[in-house]
Symmetry: C2
Subunit: 732 residues, 2 copies
């Protein structure tokens, strides 16, 4: 709870007490038959107190509902304006709309699809081409064994509760969150202590265990929102779409929840392709799937309402069941996380929100990247390099740099294995939204697929335990490691365990193999203890967990020693630094940041504009004959042909509508340039945002438009070369 809110709640409680006391005083006066003047004066005081209380209530209302960052009502209205435009111009279409839609699934209509395709093309240019990344393309259908190893089968879950009578499912944390928020907003008379408790629940919501979450739901008496029926205890629901591969029904599979695993399982081949050299990065763009629980089940009436509203209340276009991810896995030596091109971004300065600033209640601040890295706020150079590159990527697309920040994960947000994580968060009408995650995941992902590989790397330090040897059946057994050749061999001390198979065979017969394996799998400590016992006592009791019993090992059965060996190379599991882009979220935020309205010339209406840079604009220019005229139409078609040849997406509009209306239509699609044909030799090119116009000869149009849309020139550069169109602006 922020300080303002707390102070207001306390003031409100005090004022309430004062109002009650004064009310009681008035009643006492009346009962005692006091004089009118005295009573009037007391009533006046009471009214003043009530007035003050109402004023505090209003302030508290604003403080709670706006969360201290602008006005919630305005944000809602702004979002409606953007979303209405996006829907009307078919940037998005609710999927399967004629069948009433499916919550959490959206189509990109023609302009949306073009924007997406432009964003992805720029992503390829900015990351894959620039860094010579190895791009791969793996299937969405994934066998269970892969996602078991990665941990998704066991841990990729949300906690769910069911309406005990109708069976409708809800996310347990969402119900608790909604309850707390509503209570805080509506129950202004709550004690400051109670409010602090609810705010605390909101703060730790993501960390609550199944039992804690269940207890809170019970304690607050939360019921099913639609029916008020009682709810089941929370239970985990796996968010992956499950399916079955092949006709037998015996091979479970899932639709991948991320694209990264396809890269990890190919590490060995990709490392080879890169000439067995580190560092290198692999990349993948593709669909990912999450069977979100945050929508009511399809068969309820509420779904229809969701489909009608199009943007469902819970972050509609931001939380979807199928989405495009673009992921980079940069593999690097854990002992050397420098980046050769780091200096190219080190001087950038932008909003960062380090862990310490968050926990101490400060806000994001502008920090030079070089400072963040050198002070150790950002863990290493490679992580810093990608943070810088992501900043450049997003701002080139048109994301407002004042509403973009890099927020470091708090200790409790990060997986135990992660070295450091930062989210690129973009502010939109829904608040600060995580759009890109940039994480140093250390060696976790490669090791997860390669139990035996891990053995190899960490030989001598591993303790045999039955659970992990069971687990290793689910692993590939293929070591996903890198090699560093030493320029000169290095001497190291190695544990050598040599079972004497002849003796073991005589003693254990059919069980020999299990005993040998258990001996060889001993860690350094255990082995050296066994050596000491064998030397002092001649035999030792030894637990073989694959046999489920203890056997007696005699001195003659095994020799244990430490030998000095020369090693010619170091074998290690590379660290993975992973920038992961939610393309749909970036695009939605881009739409909000690009949207503005301006009055029509007559001033009678507000016109919508998307200020997309040419790079992402779905259509680069439109071609209008000024008036309906065969000659002009012929020129327009000629220009259209030359634009197609130059690969510039465009639209011809030969309707008789006024030129102003046609400009307005095209502004609403974010088309940056409009070519108006008003003669057969020269035409004008109008800039969407400045409304400035230049005059260009018909045969030069395509090359000028190409120059500005490719980003080689700005319109300002071109203006210097061509005379500004001098005629009166025909806009509106």
């Amino acid at each position: 709870m922020d300080a303002v809110e707390e102070a207001l709640r306390r003031a409100l409680a005090e004022k309430q007490t004062a109002v009650e006391a004064q009310g009681s005083a008035v009643r006492d006066l009346k009962a005692a038959g006091a004089g009118k003047a005295e009573i009037d004066s007391a009533v006046e005081t009471l009214n003043a107190l009530k007035h003050e209380k109402a004023s505090i209530e209003r302030q508290l209302q604003v403080a709670v509902s706006s969360n201290g960052s602008g006005n919630a009502v305005n944000r809602e209205a702004f979002r409606q304006a953007v979303v209405n435009t996006l829907e009307r111009r078919l940037f998005y279409i609710p999927s399967f709309k004629i069948y009433r839609g499916v919550a959490g699934l959206y189509d990109y209509g023609p302009p949306g699809c073009a924007v997406k395709s432009n964003v992805l093309a720029f992503w390829r240019q900015h990351f894959v081409l620039e860094e010579n990344m190895l791009e791969v393309d793996c299937p969405c259908v994934t066998p269970e064994i892969v996602l078991k190893a990665s941990g998704h089968v066991d841990k990729f879950t949300d906690l769910m509760v069911k309406d005990e009578k109708t069976g409708t499912c809800y996310r347990a944390d969402h119900l608790l969150k909604d309850f707390c928020k509503e209570k805080l907003e509506k129950d202004l008379s709550m004690t400051a202590e109670k409010a602090a408790e609810l705010n605390h629940v909101l703060a730790v919501l993501d960390d609550l265990s199944v039992d804690e979450l269940g207890a809170k739901i019970k304690e607050y008496g939360i019921a099913a929102p639609d029916t008020k029926n009682p709810l089941s205890d929370p239970y985990p629901f796996n968010l992956m779409f499950q399916t079955s591969i092949g006709p037998s029904g015996l091979s479970p599979g899932y639709m991948r929840p991320e694209t990264a695993q396809g890269i990890f399982v190919n590490f060995k081949d990709l490392y080879y392709y890169n000439g067995n050299k580190l560092p290198f990065a692999a990349a993948q763009i593709g669909q990912a799937f999450r069977n979100e629980v945050s929508y009511p089940s399809l068969n309820t009436a509420k779904l229809r309402a969701y489909a009608r509203v199009f943007i469902s209340p819970r972050q509609g276009l931001l939380r979807v069941r199928e989405f495009t991810l673009a992921e980079i896995e940069h593999f690097v030596d854990p002992d050397d996380k420098a980046h050769p091109k780091y200096s190219e971004v080190a001087k950038l300065e932008f909003l960062m929100f380090p862990r310490e600033e968050q926990t101490s209640g400060q806000s994001a601040k502008r920090i030079p990247l070089s400072e963040a890295v050198s002070m150790g706020i950002v863990n290493n150079e490679t992580l810093g390099y990608f943070i810088g590159r992501v900043y450049l990527f997003l701002t080139c697309l048109g994301i407002d740099k004042e509403r973009l920040r890099f927020r470091q994960h708090l200790a409790n947000e990060m997986a135990h294995y992660a070295a450091d994580c930062w989210d690129a968060e973009i502010e939109c009408s829904y608040g600060w939204i995580e759009c890109v995650g940039i994480a140093d995941r250390s060696a976790y992902d490669l090791r997860a697929h390669t139990e035996d590989g891990e053995l190899l790397v960490r030989a001598g330090s591993r303790v045999v335990d039955c659970s992990s040897s069971n687990r290793s059946k689910d692993k590939s057994g293929v070591p996903l490691v890198a090699h560093e050749k030493f320029s000169e061999p290095r001497e190291v001390e190695k544990l050598v365990i040599a079972p004497v198979k002849k003796e073991l065979g005589l003693a254990f017969k059919g069980n020999q193999k299990m005993v040998v394996e258990a001996l060889e799998a001993m860690g350094e400590k255990e082995a050296m203890e066994m050596k000491a016992t064998l030397e002092s006592k001649g035999e030792v009791e030894f637990n073989v967990c694959t046999l489920g019993k203890t056997v007696t090992i005699k001195k003659s059965m095994v020799t244990i020693s430490k030998e000095k060996k020369k090693e010619h190379q170091r074998v290690f599991t590379p660290s993975v630094i992973e920038p992961s882009f939610g393309i749909g979220r970036i695009i939605y935020c881009l739409f909000e940041h690009s949207f503005y309205t301006r009055p029509s010339k007559a001033g009678d209406e507000q016109l919508n504009v998307f200020r997309f840079p040419p790079l992402v604009a779905p259509i680069k220019c439109t071609v209008f004959p000024l008036v309906q005229d065969q000659q002009f139409e012929k020129v327009a078609k000629l220009i259209s042909k030359s634009l197609t040849a130059a690969g510039i997406s465009h639209k011809i509009d030969i309707t008789g509508t006024s030129i102003g209306k046609r400009y307005a239509r095209t502004d609403e699609l974010g088309v940056p340039f409009a070519i108006t044909v008003d003669s057969t030799s020269t035409v004008t090119i109008r800039d969407r945002d400045s409304k400035g116009q230049i005059r260009v000869s018909v045969d030069k149009v395509a090359s000028v438009v190409k120059e500005v849309t490719d980003g080689y020139s700005t319109l300002a550069d071109v203006l210097r070369r061509y005379p500004t169109h001098s005629s009166v602006s025909v806009d509106d």
Copy 2:
């Protein structure tokens, strides 16, 4: 069975008879104690006959196994050479290889992914941009109701049989096909009649019903291939991957088997987006999924063999479980299928294989497109236009035009509703492979989603029947139709059925609504018959199927008439012309068509080359310092930077390997240009296929490479401007 094969089989049978007769003659001579000279002569004749028989057997073997088109063994060897190169250079990787893979799933590794991305970019330029198509992007997860309406839930099946003991599944038609082919190849002594029967089975394989297929499997005694166990009767298996949407488990969904349905359900919005004008085309690129049965189930040992072989026997890379489709749905007035740009392709001439040529045993022939359309071989101009555009698309990519043909579907291959279908087939080592389907699907797809829409269009001709009114619950009820406004209103005669609700209410009370609906739903014929009966007899028996009984309708209860009405527009369901591209198949065929080998300079080995045009080449050029030298490396890095800025994908190779070896490596990836740095001021650019070199100054390199890779110039054009490099070729 072709004529050659039949003649050889007959000749073989005759020779066999002759051998038997002569053998018997020899035995008779011996038994009769004939003279040695006589016996020797008879044996000589016998040996000659045996020799002739063996020769015919060899000819037959070749005729059967090569299918009359080249040598099967050579094709197999060629394919192995291509596939080994593709696998070694990571064009493809078997998906989840470290877990032994999953049959039918492949990754594109870095060069494969780049080729795919280039092919898709060109597809967008050639189709979407050129025709101003409306590109959309819909989810893969699709609710059951959509695929029920499209027919996929009921009909998208393969017939499957199960090993009755192990449960392993096989495609019934594949087993029958394998049996017939093997029998024909190995049992050369079979009668010509028997061979004709087996060849007939192969010809009609796709048309066999469940019962016919089961009967054949029984008749031929076909058993499970791995175990020789008996097989179950064939039964249909749906090829869609099934899943469940949302947490309730009550909403079945599927991974889409094609992208087209996403476009059809959006027809109304797209038509509006296009200003309510026809024709227009929508397009979509995306993943599609088919849970093929043609692999043994995942858990059998055989799978591991499949994964190891990488290219599984049954068309490995061509028949996969997940693939990229690029589909166009061109919506057109069924009464006007002309295309405004048809003239641009009409003069093209290429291999076409019309229905008549196929059934009369002729082969594909070169026909001018204009002739095929004007003679009605191709149904209409729009279909012809797309056939021409597909031809241009494929040949621009590098498909050999001599191994590309357009084959018309036979009558029994086409759906009953289709007006005409052509497949672009590309010949590769697997035979002629369908890579693009171009079909005029008439109004089928739009009607499938809109029972009520159909009602609207065909009002007056529909007969009420209970089954169809049940079916309509699965339809969207949204009319997917187009409108043509008449310049002047037209007079039409319309059936008007006016139930008199007051009378009906008195007579039928609670059932009134059902009776009214049944009356209103009458078709023209039924209504006019009722009118006649009511006028002659005053009442009529009328079956109301929603009530499940017959009621008596009196004259006072309904008036039926025909009225002349003025209509201002025509409402109709557009026809759909659908070019559908299997991107993975096109790419695989492109790999085969682009592959060749040439001897190394020393002549001691064959070097592999992919002759990709710059348009599709995964990497456009490589940069080599001639020798390891700091100055040269600096220049190489400078050139690399300028190439990146120009958006040209490239690779630097600064290893000390000989320049010849480096050229060979790059040829094997299909890189069209190699820049060799042998001075600090000028460098050479080498052309992959001609090995010709030109010398260019360092600051011009990027722009020259861009010019040739963008296709604005050929290397020949550039050669005219720059002096041919005069030094001795450093190749090899």
